[in-house]
C-alpha cells in the first residue's frame, strides 16, 4: 500500500528523517514508534504529500491510484477540524470536499458515529467536545470517504488511557474489515498493539518487525524491581547490570545473566536499607526493546 524508498527530509541543515525505507502492506496495522522529535510527523507528512522529501521516493497504492482521489484518510496530530462547526457540519463539509452527496454522507456518518459512540453529539460544536471525542470526530471525518487506508499521526496523544483503549478497539474493528492502518505513536505500550512496528529514533529506522520479532532481538534479560525508594539509578553502576531505567512505578534493569545480577542487586539494596517488594525476570516490553536498541545505536 505504501512504499518508502530512502525517504529523507532536511530542514535547514537538520536532518529530520534520514533514508527511511519501509513497506506498509495491505491489511497491516503498521506502527511508527518513536519518542518526540524522532521525525514521525515529518515522515507521515511526506507520505501524505503535504511536504516534498529532500530525496527519496514514496509510492502509494503501487502508484496506480492518484492520491488525490481520496483513497486514504489522514488524521493530523493536532485537532484540525473547524471548532465553530458542529460535529455533523464538519462531517458534511468533509464529505462535500470529496463530492459525496448529502445522503451518502449522512448514511455513512450514522454508521461511523455509532461505531465511535458520537451519535448523540451530532449537533454539538466541535470545540465543545472533550479531547478524546475530538479525536474520534477527526477519525469519523477521515472515514466518511471510505478510504482503503488510514494514516494517523499520534491519534491518542494527550488523551486519557480509557479513551486510548477505546480508540484502539475502533482501529482493530476497522482493520478486521480490511482497513490498512499506518499509525504513529510515542507510546511504547501501543507499539505492542500493532501488527508490525518500525522504531524511529532521531530520524532513522532502528528496527522493523512484529512486536514479537523485535522482543527476540534483544539478548539481555529484563528484571523488574519494585522497591520502597523511587530512585534506583545507582543500580546501573553494578558490574552485573548493563542498564537501569525507570518504568512507571517500577524499575527495569537490563542484565546479561539473571541470577548473579539478582544477588548483587539485593545485596546492594539491603546495604542501603531499601526494602524490595518485587524482583522477577519478565518478558521484555517494547520499551525495553526500544531502550536497548537505541542504546546500541548511540554506542
Amino acid at each position: 500500500m505504501i512504499e518508502m524508498e530512502a525517504l529523507t527530509k532536511v530542514f535547514g541543515g537538520i536532518t529530520a528523517v534520514s533514508e527511511v525505507s519501509l513497506r506498509v502492506e495491505q491489511g497491516d496495522i503498521f506502527g511508527l514508534v518513536g519518542p518526540d522529535g524522532a521525525g514521525k510527523t515529518t515522515l507521515l507528512r511526506m507520505v501524505c504529500g503535504l511536504i516534498n522529501p529532500t530525496s527519496g521516493r514514496v509510492t502509494l497504492f503501487g502508484g496506480r491510484q492518484k492520491k488525490d482521489a481520496g483513497n486514504f484518510g489522514y488524521m493530523p496530530q493536532r485537532f484540525s477540524l473547524c471548532g465553530d462547526l458542529t460535529v455533523m457540519e464538519n462531517i458534511n463539509f468533509f464529505g462535500s470536499l470529496y463530492k459525496l452527496d448529502r445522503k451518502t454522507v449522512r448514511e455513512r456518518a450514522d454508521e461511523i458515529l455509532e461505531l465511535t459512540k458520537l451519535s448523540q453529539f451530532k449537533s454539538r460544536f466541535a470545540e465543545d467536545l472533550s479531547g478524546g471525542m475530538k479525536q474520534k470526530l477527526a477519525l469519523t471525518c477521515a472515514l466518511v470517504i471510505r478510504p482503503g487506508m488510514l494514516i494517523l499521526d499520534e491519534p491518542t496523544f494527550g488523551v486519557d488511557p480509557e479513551f486510548r483503549k477505546e480508540f484502539w478497539k475502533i482501529l482493530y474493528m476497522l482493520n478486521r474489515d480490511g482497513m490498512t492502518i499506518f499509525v504513529s505513536t510515542p507510546y511504547m505500550d501501543e507499539a505492542d498493539l500493532c501488527k508490525k512496528v518500525a522504531l524511529l529514533d532521531r530520524g532513522k529506522i532502528v528496527a522493523v518487525g512484529t512486536p514479537d520479532q523485535l522482543k527476540k532481538q534483544i539478548k539481555n534479560k529484563i528484571i523488574e524491581i519494585k522497591a520502597d525508594v523511587k530512585d534506583l539509578d545507582f543500580l546501573g553502576e553494578l558490574p552485573e547490570v548493563d542498564d537501569a531505567s525507570f518504568y512507571g512505578d517500577r524499575y527495569h534493569v537490563s542484565v546479561p545473566v539473571v541470577e548473579p545480577a539478582k544477588i548483587s542487586i539485593s545485596r546492594l539494596l539491603s546495604e542501603k536499607g531499601i526494602a524490595i517488594s518485587f524482583m522477577e525476570e519478565i518478558t521484555p516490553s517494547m520499551e525495553d526493546v526500544f531502550v536497548s536498541l537505541t542504546e546500541k545505536e548511540v554506542v
Binding site: 530542514f11 503535504l50 477540524l81 473547524c82 457540519e89 468533509f94 462535500s96 470536499l97
Partner: protein
C-alpha cells in the same frame, strides 16, 4: 465547482457564527464614518487668538473687528505685554497673537505703512497655514479699500472669479466620506483576509484540507468570495451613512460605483492573501497589514494632496490600490463622472488584482513546508 461551494458554505456558516467579527463588519463603517466624518475638517476655523493692542485707537479696533469677523480668529485674550502673548502661545492657550504697535493709528493717518505683527504657532501646520493665509488676505482687503478711496476708483482693474465646482460650499465631509469608505474597505479586506487565512493555518485546518482533493485555486476562491460579499455590505452601510447623515450627494451612477468597486476589493483581497501566505502567525499578519494600511492613509491622497508630495513619494503612492480607488469613488460620487474618465484607474486596479492573486496562488501550492 462543488468543492468551491463546499468551502463557501463552510465560510458562511463560520462567519454567521462569529458574531463579533460580523458586528465589526457593520460597526466599522458606521462608527468610523460618524467619527471621522465629523472630526476631520481640513478647514480650520475659530483659532484662539490673543491681542496686544498698544495703539488703542479706532483704527486698531477696526482691524481687530476684521479679524474676528472672518470667523477664523476668536479673540479670547487681551493682553498687556509682549511677554504675556509669548506665554499664551508657548502654553498653547492661544495659537495666534496679534500685536498693534503704539504708532499704528498715527502711521495710518500719515499715509505711512501701518504694521500689524501676527504671531502664528506653526507647530501645527494645518491651522497655521489657514491663519497665515487669512491674515494676509485681511491685510490685502483692508489696503484695497483704502486704495480705492484714495485713487477714487469705482471698480478694480482685475476681477478673478473663482467657481469651486463639485463642492461649491467646500464641505469637507463630501470629500472625506467617500475616501473613508475606501480606507474601511482596505482595512477589512486586507486585514481580515490575511488574519483569517493565517488563523486557519495556525489551527491546522489547512493541513487537513490539503490532503483532500481540493485544488489551491478552489480553496482561494472559496475563501475570497465571502469577503467580497462583506466588502459590499460595508460599502452599502458607508454609502447610506454618507447620504443620510452627511448628505453627501451621489452624483454618478451607483451601479457603476458598485461594479468598479469590485476591482478595488479584489486588489485589496489579493494583498490580504499575499500577506497571509508570507506571515507565519496572526501577529505577523496584523503587523504586515498595518504596513499596508498606513501608507494607504498617508500617501494615497486620502488626507494630503498627492500633488504636494515629492515625486518619489508619488511613485510609492502609485503602487497603492487606494490611490486609484479614491479617484474612482470621488469621481463618481462628487463629480458624477463615469467609466470613460476612469479607465486608467480601473486598469491599474485590474493589474493589481491579477498580479497579487496569481502570486498568492503560486505561493500557496498546497504544501505546508
Amino acid at each position: 465547482m462543488s468543492r468551491i461551494l463546499a468551502i463557501l458554505k463552510k465560510e458562511f456558516l463560520q462567519m454567521r457564527r462569529d458574531r463579533l467579527t460580523l458586528g465589526m463588519v457593520f460597526a466599522l463603517p458606521l462608527f468610523q464614518l460618524l467619527l471621522f466624518g465629523y472630526a476631520i475638517q481640513t478647514e480650520v476655523k475659530h483659532i484662539p487668538t490673543a491681542v496686544f493692542d498698544q495703539s488703542l485707537s479706532a483704527e486698531s479696533r477696526d482691524m481687530m473687528e476684521a479679524f474676528s469677523a472672518s470667523g477664523y480668529f476668536d479673540v479670547y485674550y487681551s493682553t498687556g505685554g509682549y511677554a504675556e502673548i509669548t506665554n499664551m502661545i508657548d502654553s498653547g492657550r492661544a495659537k495666534v497673537g496679534i500685536i498693534f504697535p503704539p504708532d499704528f493709528s498715527e502711521n495710518l493717518k500719515k499715509g505711512d505703512t501701518a504694521t500689524v505683527q501676527v504671531l502664528v504657532d506653526a507647530s501645527d501646520s494645518m491651522s497655521s497655514s489657514t491663519a497665515i493665509a487669512t491674515a494676509n488676505a485681511i491685510g490685502l482687503l483692508k489696503s484695497q479699500k483704502i486704495f480705492i478711496q484714495k485713487a477714487q476708483l469705482t471698480n478694480l482693474p482685475y476681477d478673478i472669479r473663482v467657481r469651486p465646482w463639485y463642492n461649491p460650499d467646500g464641505i469637507t465631509a463630501y470629500y472625506m466620506v467617500p475616501a473613508i469608505l475606501g480606507i474601511i474597505v482596505t482595512m477589512t479586506m486586507v486585514m481580515m483576509t490575511a488574519v483569517a487565512i493565517v488563523r486557519e493555518r495556525e489551527r491546522g485546518t489547512l493541513e487537513q484540507l490539503m490532503v483532500t482533493p481540493i485544488r489551491s485555486f478552489e480553496l482561494m476562491i472559496g475563501k475570497i468570495v465571502p469577503y467580497i460579499g462583506l466588502g459590499y455590505l460595508q460599502i452599502t452601510v458607508a454609502l447610506l451613512v454618507g447620504a443620510l447623515v452627511f448628505h453627501v450627494p451621489i452624483r454618478g451612477s451607483l451601479l457603476e460605483l458598485y461594479v468598479l468597486t469590485l476591482f478595488f476589493i479584489t486588489a485589496s483581497l489579493g494583498l490580504g492573501i499575499l500577506i497571509s501566505n508570507i506571515a507565519k502567525n496572526q501577529m505577523q499578519a496584523f503587523q504586515m497589514s498595518f504596513f499596508v494600511l498606513l501608507p494607504s492613509i498617508m500617501l494615497s491622497g486620502f488626507l494630503f494632496p498627492r500633488e504636494a508630495m515629492p515625486l518619489v513619494i508619488q511613485y510609492i503612492g502609485d503602487i497603492i490600490p487606494l490611490t486609484y480607488y479614491l479617484v474612482i469613488i470621488r469621481g463618481i460620487v462628487l463629480k458624477g463622472i463615469g467609466f470613460p474618465y476612469l479607465v486608467s484607474q480601473v486598469a491599474a486596479l485590474l493589474v493589481f488584482s491579477v498580479v497579487l492573486v496569481t502570486l498568492s496562488i503560486i505561493k500557496f501550492k498546497k504544501k505546508i513546508a
